[in-house]
């Protein structure tokens, strides 16, 4: 079960060029709307014909510009769930699901099987217009699986649902993947959804993939300031390299010195960008701590399960945003106007080449 994707597409004034792969996993295509995520799925499904490139599913070429191959969407056997689902409104749930089942297979038993798999057997004779959002979602998934596709393409499938339902359905999707061994390409612009579902993550921006890597790699080690921004890294600073030895660099950030893990070869004296996610920053009581600076709490926002705190340096060092879970927030007794030591752990302080 694999997809290898490499394609260039021209759409009006928009040029698209991207490559990634998926092997028995969930690959999340993440980015703003219009970044090229949906067109990627359309190219895999055969609904859009790229100008150049090669797309294979399970090793079988679906598109190959050099060899002149463009397999019709009907012959690709990929399950495709479009945004807002596009259920067939004039058909019952069972008819929707049965539509894609090949003639050779006993349609009624296969339909029943799929409805059971998605736990919607009791909705078989209902029309889509009478279903709730979550029920429709399950119908769309069952329909996409009708041809026994090993590859599932999902375009923002949960965007119209409320939070609680999304949680349930994401769990459902993970169950399906485990039960059926699916390879899933999942499009979303929701950071939390991307984080929850992705084995690997492709960050799209303006028709390009900026970074394609394992989820934690992308979140913790973004390749550029742009990726860091897109993946919600709140602290991105300009810094100067003072020295760089054995993968550890000493940096000057707003007048303060910090050690940082440096996967790139940055010459002393050169300018780089450095990022650290808000939840990786440590709050310490005043004392002797390495890689830390003194700062005052200026603003705080409560989000229920977590708090976002804004700190201003007392003398040197950058302005920092800190995310802290509610429990430690209470235990520490954080309150406005207090002075704290802000620790930026060297292993989490990530150095990026400046663009």
């Amino acid at each position: 079960m694999s997809i290898e994707f490499d394609a260039a597409i021209r759409l009006g004034g928009f040029t698209y060029d991207a490559r990634f792969e998926a092997r028995n996993e969930i690959v999340v295509l993440f980015g703003h709307s219009g970044a090229g995520k949906s067109v990627t799925l359309q190219a895999i499904a055969g609904l859009v014909r790229p100008e150049r490139g090669r797309i294979t599913v399970d090793g079988r070429p679906m598109f190959d510009s050099a060899a002149g191959i463009h397999v019709a969407p009907q012959a690709r056997n990929v399950g495709y769930v479009v945004q807002e689902l596009a259920l067939f409104p004039h058909m019952t749930v069972a008819e929707n699901v049965a539509f894609g089942i090949p003639k050779a297979i006993d349609r009624s038993s296969r339909t029943a099987e799929l409805l059971d798999l998605l736990r919607i057997g009791d909705l078989a004779n209902r029309k889509p217009s009478t279903l709730s959002g979550g029920q429709r979602q399950r119908v769309a998934l069952a329909r996409a699986l009708a041809r026994d596709a090993n590859v599932l393409l999902l375009d923002e499938p949960f965007s119209a649902l409320d939070d609680a339902l999304r949680v349930t359905l994401r769990r459902e999707l993970l169950r399906l993947r485990a039960e059926l061994g699916l390879t899933i390409v999942f499009v979303t612009h929701d950071l939390r959804e991307a984080h929850l579902l992705a084995d690997r993550l492709a960050v799209f921006d303006d028709g390009r993939i900026l970074q394609f890597a394992a989820r934690e790699e992308v979140f913790r080690r973004p390749v550029s300031r742009r990726v860091a921004e897109l993946t919600g890294t709140s602290n991105i600073f300009a810094a100067t390299v003072i020295e760089n030895r054995d993968g550890t660099a000493v940096l000057d950030v707003a007048g303060a010195r910090f050690a940082a893990s440096a996967p790139i070869a940055a010459m002393p004296g050169s300018g780089i960008d450095v990022a650290i996610r808000g939840e990786r920053v440590n709050l310490r009581r005043p004392g002797e701590v390495a890689n830390a600076f003194r700062a005052m709490l200026t603003e705080e926002f409560a989000f229920g399960s977590s708090h976002t705190l804004h700190f201003k340096p007392v003398d040197t060092g950058p302005e920092v945003e800190v995310e802290i879970a509610s429990r430690p927030y209470e235990v520490l007794g954080v309150a406005a106007g207090q002075e704290w030591l802000i620790e930026l752990p060297a292993s989490d302080l990530h150095v990026m080449r400046r663009e």
Partner: protein, 269 residues
């Protein structure tokens, strides 16, 4: 509170005035038809029966070409993008806005004995269109087609294109997708367009009078029989009223039955 009442009263008064304007002419017609003892007899006269039958069957035949050719046109207009589409769009609506007499004259210039294609056709086959029932149908097809195409087109416009894309990925050919996914969703619009088209064909007068002529049994449809009666044919004014009431009854019957049927369908859906 007071303003609300004033608004409501105004709304009711205006609606009532408007409704009266629509109802009164038909009430007048009905009153005359009832008072005039000969209505039933006139409605059963040979002229009236021949005209009604001719109108009903030619209008029904009109649906054939309008549906068969109108549906692909509507589909193309909904889906295809091509230069000059706006002009084609507008041109199709022309028969709606132009007086039907213009359509009649236009038909003559194309299919008349001295028309663009009428002349060569007569030279090759000896066949002419004027004064034939064929001409009646041609006139009706031309003036009624836009009503069908418009309705069908808006039906196609309302179908979710992504549903078609999904059908392709589920292995359905373009043909199967069209007949199983697109057409069923467009069916109510097509039905409505068909009824509108039929009703317009039933009411067609100007183009028929000019292009087809006016002869009982061949080209004299209900509207022609009515205008002839009004202009002094032997049926007279009483005949014009009797025929009008007949036409009104048939048209109303068809429209009501259609409403009932389509409401039931919506309810089932």
């Amino acid at each position: 509170m007071r303003t609300d009442r004033t608004a409501l009263v105004t709304l009711l008064v205006l609606s009532a005035a408007f409704a009266a304007f629509f109802v009164l002419p038909f009430a007048g017609l009905a009153k005359r038809a009832i008072e005039d003892g000969k209505t039933w007899e006139l409605a059963r006269s040979g002229t009236a029966q021949a005209a009604l039958w001719l109108s009903v069957w030619t209008s029904t035949v009109t649906l054939g070409p309008d549906d068969r050719f109108g549906t692909p046109v509507a589909y193309l207009l909904s889906r295809a993008r091509f230069p000059g589409k706006a002009i084609v769009d507008a041109a199709i609506d022309l028969p709606i806005v132009l007086p039907p007499t213009v359509a009649g004259v236009a038909l003559l210039t194309a299919f008349g004995r001295r028309g663009l294609v009428g002349e060569p056709i007569e030279a090759w086959t000896g066949q002419t269109f004027a004064f034939t029932t064929m001409a009646v149908i041609m006139a009706q097809v031309l003036v009624a087609a836009p009503f069908y195409v418009r309705a069908a087109r808006s039906g196609f416009d309302s179908v979710d294109r992504r549903a078609e894309a999904v059908a392709y990925t589920l292995g359905a050919s373009k043909t199967r997708t069209f007949f199983r996914i697109v057409l069923p969703q467009v069916r109510p619009a097509i039905m409505a367009g068909t009824v509108l088209c039929w009703a317009r064909a039933m009411g067609e007068l100007g183009a028929t009078l000019i292009f087809a002529g006016n002869l009982e049994g061949t080209t004299q449809t209900m509207p022609l029989a009515i205008i002839s009666a009004f202009e002094g044919s032997s049926l007279g004014l009483a005949g014009a009223i009797a025929l009008s009431v007949m036409l009104l009854g048939v048209a109303l019957g068809v429209l009501v039955v259609f409403r009932l049927v389509s409401n039931q369908e919506t309810w089932q859906a």
